[in-house]
Every structure is written in C-alpha cells, then in structure tokens.
C-alpha cells in the first residue's frame, strides 16, 4: 500500500515537471518551414571564390588536394604563359567522400577555398555528389 503511494507520488512529481514545460514555448522548430540560424563558421560544402575582377584566384597549387584525408579533391593544372601563372582546367570535389573536416580550407594559401553555410545537400544519385568546377567556382 505504501509502495503504491510512493510510486504514484513519484509519478506525479515527474508529471509536475513535464507539465511545467507544457506552457513554455517549445524548443523544437518545424523544420522544412522554419530553419534555425546556422553559424557563419559552419563547415558545409566547398566553394571557390573569385577576386574583385571576377578572375579565379586559385592557382592550382594542389595543397588542398594533398592535405585532404580522404582524397576527394582532384584537379588538372595548366600554365597560362600570357598571364604567367597557373590555372586549373578542372577542379572536382567528390562530396560523397568528403567528411567536412575543413583541413583543405585551412590550408589554402590563396584563401580562395571556403565553406558555404549550406547544409541541405542531398541528392538522388551518387553522381550528383561529385561537383565539378562550374559548380564549385561561384
């Protein structure tokens, strides 16, 4: 008998706490309709930046390619004799492998490789996870 009483009392005490939160604004968000604010440092997909003149800044130094722990960056580099610098003719990132560690962004000496605050990155096919240069250079 005493046992029943203590158990019920404990349940009631627990219920009191849950009841308290019943009237407080819920902490959850209705995801597809509402979105929470993403921190500017968020490590999302990668993109390459252009400089003020609209030229690409990346000079194909291959540092990002070498530092990536899962080898998901690949590029081809050529030398432009007129401008006397190197350019990439192709720059591909396989986001199916990328683990968003941020090491490539940290290592880029030209600071032209950055993360986007993009977190909704799902596709139906694996092929569309492989982004080529036209999608990365934005």
């Amino acid at each position: 008998m005493i046992k029943i009483f203590t158990y019920t009392w404990a349940i009631l005490k627990g219920m009191a706490i849950t009841f308290k939160y019943f009237f407080i604004r819920p902490v959850t968000v209705q995801y597809p309709k509402e979105k929470i604010k993403i921190s500017p440092r968020w490590r999302g997909t990668l993109k390459q930046l252009r400089n003020e003149q609209g030229e690409e800044t990346c000079d194909g130094c291959r540092i990002c390619e070498k530092i990536c722990p899962v080898n998901c960056i690949s590029m081809e580099v050529y030398k432009d004799e007129k401008k006397n610098r190197r350019f990439t003719s192709s720059y591909t990132v396989n986001f199916g492998r990328c683990m968003f560690c941020g090491l490539c962004v940290e290592a880029c000496p030209k600071k032209c490789l950055v993360h986007t605050p993009d977190f909704e990155f799902c596709t139906y096919e694996r092929e569309s996870l492989i982004l080529t240069k036209d999608k990365i250079l934005r």
Partner: protein, 371 residues
C-alpha cells in the same frame, strides 16, 4: 528442478540480442544463453562498426589523424581530439599557449557534460522513462550550438591542432557558456526528481549489476565505471595533463558499484565539469591560440603513450613515429572497449529484464568499441 525440466525436453536457449536492438546503443550483438529467465552465459559480439581506424591512421598525416579521431567516440569528439594531439606535441616538445590550453579544457569539459547528458537520456529510455531523453537532448543542443559557433561542426569537431586549437573563440561564446551553465545548474535538480530519486527507477537499478572494487581493478575499468565501485581513479587528478592541475574540483565516487551508483557518479560529474568550465573561463586571457609549429608535422622518431580522461574513461593513444609525416603505428585504447568486457561477468545470473539496465549503465559507444 532444472534437471527435471531438461529431461522433459526443456533446454537452454540461445538468444541473440542485437545488432539491431534499440537499446544496445548501436550495433552490439549479445549472445545470451538463457535458462528460463536467468542468463547463464553472455558473450558480446563486436565488430559491426569496425572501420580499421588504427590501420588507416598509418597512412594519414598527423594532422589528418585528428580529423579521423572524431570518429572513435563520436559523441565526445573533443576528448578524442585531445588524446590525438597530446602525443605528437610531446614528441615534438611543443609548449601550447595558455589560452589554447584553457580553451581545450573548456571544450573537453563541455563535451563531458554533453556525453553524460546522452547517457542520462538514453538510460532513462532503457529503463522505461521516456521524458528525460527530450530534456537531455534539449540541453545538449545548446552545447552543440556553442560548438558550432566555434568550429563549425556539431558532431565531428576537428577543432584541436597540434600546437593549439584551430580557431579563436567568437565573441558570443563566453557569454554563451556562462548563460548555459546558469541555465543548466537548476536543470540537474529537475533530473533528480525525474529520474535519480524516482522509486521505480531506483528499484530497477539499486543493487543490480554490482561490481566490487577488486573486480573493477581486475577488469581494468576506467572512468565513471571504476569510480562507482569506490576506486578514486581519475586521470585529471592522478596524471594531470594540460592545465588540469590548476583547477579545484572533486572526483565523485560511488560505494556499491551498482547501476545506480554508476548513474549517480555521472550526474555528479556533470556538476564538477560545470565548475571546471567556470574556473577556466575566469582564467582565460587574450593571447595566442597556436604555438609556432612547422606547416608539415614531422615528429622526431620515438614512441609515446598519452592518455586523457574521456567521458567514458581512460582514452589512450600509443603512437610510434619514424620521423616521417605519418605515424608508424597508432594504437588506440578505447575505454568503451575495455569497459564492455566486464559485461560477460556481470550478466551471469541476472534476469533478462536487467540486461538493458546493466548494459546502459556501462555507457558504451560502439564507434569506440569497434573503431
């Protein structure tokens, strides 16, 4: 009686629990030999999440290994980062700037709170109380938001670097942590009402799965599991790494080593962690966050074992360097793996209803068991 039953066609039954059982905390497979409701033999079968982390590490640079270390114990990645950087730092005799050390301690302790919150929530579910789970995750979310603002990731932080940390704290971080701790303290009392002192919960945990002091030492337990048995063993006090010797905190211990004690040790540890974070915030001063290290990390040849007190126990990394950019050997002592071993002894003689209570109270994470 049992003999009689056996003769009349009743026999021991082998029961497969997992790997898809919701309360095995991942992909643990338990082979239980049952005599009626009593367990006569229990054998954990692991390896479903094996990714060969130690072998992969031999083909990755020291820096990349920090990123991979996030995947051992994926709910307490900061502690893994901590263990991964200490070894090469010692080999290269790098002195980490004071500010970076305090930041590391803040991160590791917040991570301890986050990890124990997951334990609190999931243990509630294991026992049959569903509400604590939501509350625990609500609080954990706040910690993850703080992490996101610092390093840009919510689970795999990759925040520590050899010689410091990757980014300085943003402006809103320190007020954010202070606000969190003020918010979190009263919540712990609520948890006590919800679960810790709830007679139904206590009935299911007090006296269940007790580990004696000697057993705990024999099976090389560490972390809250050994402390619950009354052994005062905490690497933060016993072998202080980083700046832990500067802080004033207690090591909560239990007496009987049963499920409730293990649970309670973790709840009290959260309070102590909050205290450490507060002290570290006070000591935090502007300064460098990275020591001067070469871009390409080549620790001199040698071997070293470094360990940290992760939320689950002693997380150690034994690495051998041959002077190149990659480790020659990288051995990880995962606390969950070692703690899991005692399960086969504890479960013997218990009822099947207690399996989940015992398993939950050891608090394993399969990413670290299998690696």
């Amino acid at each position: 009686m049992i003999e009689q039953l056996k003769n009349s066609g009743f026999e021991e039954m082998t029961l497969n629990m997992g790997p898809q059982h919701p309360s095995t905390h991942g992909v643990l497979h338990l082979l239980l030999k049952m005599d009626g409701e009593v367990i006569t033999e229990a054998r954990p079968d692991i390896g479903y999440l094996h990714r060969g982390m130690e072998k992969i590490a031999e083909k990755r640079t020291w820096g990349a290994n920090i990123a991979l270390s996030d995947r051992w114990d994926y709910i307490a990645s900061m502690s893994n980062n901590f263990a991964a950087v200490l070894g090469p730092e010692k080999l290269m005799s790098i002195t980490v700037p004071k500010r970076a050390e305090y930041i590391r301690v803040i991160m590791a302790e917040l991570n301890r709170i986050a990890s124990h919150l997951i334990f609190f929530g999931t243990y509630g579910i294991d026992i049959g109380a569903f509400t604590p789970f939501f509350y625990a995750f609500r609080e954990r979310e706040k910690i993850l938001d703080l992490y996101e603002s610092v390093c840009g990731a919510r689970l795999t932080y990759n925040y520590f670097r050899i010689g410091g940390v990757s980014a300085d704290l943003p402006e809103e971080f320190i007020p954010g942590v202070k606000a969190f701790i003020n918010y979190f303290r009263p919540k712990l009392k609520e948890y006590d009402t919800l679960l810790s002192t709830n007679p139904i919960f206590m009935d299911r945990t007090v006296g269940v799965g007790a580990i004696t002091k000697e057993e705990a030492i024999d099976w090389a337990l560490s972390g809250p599991n050994i402390r619950a048995s009354g052994v005062n063993f905490d690497l933060r006090k016993d072998d202080p790494y980083s700046v832990y010797s500067e802080f004033d905190f207690n090591i909560p211990t239990g007496k009987n080593g049963d499920c409730w004690d293990r649970y309670m040790v973790r709840m009290n540890e959260m309070k102590e962690s909050a205290r450490i974070v507060e002290q570290a915030l006070e000591k935090l001063e502007p300064g460098d966050i990275m020591a001067k290290v070469a871009k390409v990390i080549r620790p001199p040849a040698g071997e070293i074992y470094t360990h940290v007190e992760a939320p689950k126990g002693e997380l150690g990394v034994y690495c051998i360097s041959d002077g190149s950019t990659m480790p020659y050997r990288y051995k990880v002592r995962g606390p969950s793996f070692v703690n899991l071993a005692i399960l086969q002894k504890m479960l013997k003689g218990l009822r099947i209803a207690d399996v989940v209570a015992v398993l939950g109270s050891i608090d394993i994470v399969l990413g670290e068991v299998d690696r």
